[in-house]
């Protein structure tokens, strides 16, 4: 019976983490955008406006749940739940530290990739169920975009899997540090199995994975509907896309899903390319920095820092680059990223065969 308790506790832990992260993320986003634009952002609620998002969510909870008269009620009500649950389930397979993973799945990466695609379904349900032209336009754009960008993202991930030879995310994480059971080579020739640190991360084990990482990062922006790929929301054209008709907690759930998705894709990027929970500090001679900074608490710290850094980059990009047009979006996906991802996959095969 004990393991049921563990399951429930880890589920609650992950949920409260994603909720807290969303609160923090919204605050961070508002501050980052403000500073980028030489403004101040929230300042009045709490010290430096830190309580602003709590006040916002309090307001959101009190709002009336409006269902448009012409809406498809079942789809409309179910959609936010499906969107959030799809993102939330993605966390199940992601390792946080050595030996600390909610679910030890052999097909972890495959599962992650499959489960976040379910979000698309929720978005389509929201768009269709709202019975609103802006919502359905946003939903259709979102689906076209997410499905298209899954191809370069998928091939970028496959090029990692070819190097790592496993789909288990915990195994992929273990390979990128001093706990690795196999021989790890920096750039294919320098054995860094005992040195660890930044040298054994996947992007340095096989340098073409840097390109794969960039491809994955761009695609992950598109999959989480973030600027510059936010055409499904496109405030200036579509009001706010598929969630135009949502109010109160349902809107809150969609918002929560968006920020959880940001963290989720960043965390997967960190796990696959940036050494997961492994420390960036290498062992140098007698100074065993890597050994000292490896452990459960350290692992959570490192993966957290790496993911937050990537989320920060996502925000930075959002407040810099203008939105792409639909045709530009598809051009980038099919004519640039997809061929590049194929090249990465090919290079991975060659690298695996000749250099590892």
């Amino acid at each position: 019976m004990d393991f049921y308790l563990t399951y429930i506790l880890s589920a609650i832990g992950l949920f409260s983490f994603s909720a807290l992260f969303a609160l923090f993320g919204v605050y961070a986003e508002r501050k980052v955008s403000a500073f980028i634009q030489d403004r101040l952002g929230p300042t009045e609620t709490g010290k430096f406006g830190t309580l602003q998002t709590f006040a916002d969510i309090l307001k959101l909870v009190q709002k009336e749940l409006i269902i448009p008269a012409a809406a498809d009620k079942l789809l409309f009500i179910l959609a936010p739940g499906i969107i959030f649950v799809a993102v939330y389930l993605g966390f199940a397979a992601l390792p946080w530290a050595p030996g600390l993973v909610p679910s030890k799945l052999n097909l972890g990466l495959y599962y992650f990739f499959a489960i976040i695609s379910v979000e698309t379904l929720g978005i389509l349900m929201a768009g269709w169920g709202s019975n609103n032209k802006y919502s359905i336009l946003g939903a259709m754009r979102s689906i076209a975009q997410i499905i298209s960008y899954e191809i370069p993202a998928g091939f970028a991930l496959i090029s990692v899997v070819m190097i790592a030879q496993t789909l288990n995310l915990q195994d992929i994480a273990t390979q990128q540090g001093i706990l690795a059971t196999e021989k790890i080579k920096f750039l294919g020739y320098w054995d860094v199995t005992t040195t660890g640190g930044v040298l054994s991360w996947n992007i340095f084990r096989a340098p073409h994975l840097i390109i794969a990482f960039v491809i994955y990062f761009i695609s992950s922006l598109a999959e989480s509907n973030r600027a510059p790929f936010d055409i499904p929301e496109a405030e200036s054209e579509l009001v706010s896309g598929f969630h135009t008709e949502y109010s109160g907690l349902r809107f809150g759930l969609i918002f929560l899903a968006e920020y959880s998705m940001m963290f989720l894709v960043s965390m997967v990027g960190a796990i696959l390319f940036l050494g997961a929970w492994n420390t960036p500090l290498p062992n140098i001679g007698p100074v065993h920095l890597a050994t000292w900074t490896t452990g459960t608490a350290w692992g959570i710290l490192w993966i957290g820092l790496k993911s937050f850094a990537l989320v920060g980059v996502q925000m930075w990009i959002r407040w810099t680059l203008p939105r792409l047009r639909v045709d530009q979006l598809m051009n980038l996906c099919w004519k640039v990223l997809t061929p590049l991802a194929f090249v990465c996959m090919l290079l991975s095969g060659i690298w695996r065969l000749w250099l590892m």
Partner: protein, 195 residues
């Protein structure tokens, strides 16, 4: 194609470099200086936000905001009400029986202002009324933050006459008119009788 993609990355990086500079640039509070200051447009450092109730941009005393009437200087000529494009000034005048004093610039006042209402909710802040005013008693001030809970509070009443006062003055004037009329009539009758 490759050149295009490469160019895309280069230009994106340029933009990102610009924003990251601003992200870590000084977040010093803005020092508020008036627009007339020489350095006003040269201030590029720090935040741009004016934290309004705490900080206020200095404006000249005769700005172009709320209207104000110095009713003692008003000769109730009604020019402002006539020129107003949105008809937000409502004046009711009563003729006085005699000259009732002088304004500060020496013009003789011959009319009482029974009513001098300005509906600031209607006002379009064109300032025409201040231009036509012969005694310069209607001016625009530097007050702009005016929020009220009741829209009728936005109708400013500048007349200092009570309704009783006004009624009395009206009666006086009517009495004088009647006396004048009577005198005129008497004079005419006398003239006719004399002829």
């Amino acid at each position: 194609m490759i050149k295009n993609a490469f160019n895309g990355f280069i230009t994106a990086w340029k933009g990102l470099a610009l924003t990251i500079r601003h992200l870590f640039a000084s977040n010093a509070k803005r020092t508020v200086i008036p627009v007339s200051d020489d350095n006003y447009f040269k201030k590029l450092e720090g935040t741009n936000t004016i934290q309004y109730p705490a900080q206020k941009l200095p404006i000249p005393e005769v700005g172009r905001y709320q209207l104000d009437v110095e009713i003692d200087d008003c000769i109730v000529c009604d020019l402002c009400a006539k020129i107003c494009p949105v008809d937000c000034i409502d004046i009711e005048s009563i003729k006085a029986t005699e000259a009732i004093g002088q304004t500060s610039d020496g013009t003789t006042k011959r009319l009482y202002a029974a009513k001098f209402d300005i509906d600031m909710a209607k006002c379009m802040y064109c300032g025409l009324c201040t231009i036509v005013c012969p005694t310069e008693c209607i001016t625009m001030t530097n007050l702009y933050d005016k929020s009220v809970f009741d829209i009728s509070k936005l109708t400013y009443q500048f007349s200092d006459m009570t309704p009783e006062d006004a009624a009395e003055k009206k009666q006086l004037f009517e009495k004088q008119q009647a006396e004048k009329q009577a005198a005129k009539l008497a004079a005419m009758q006398k003239k006719e009788g004399g002829a």
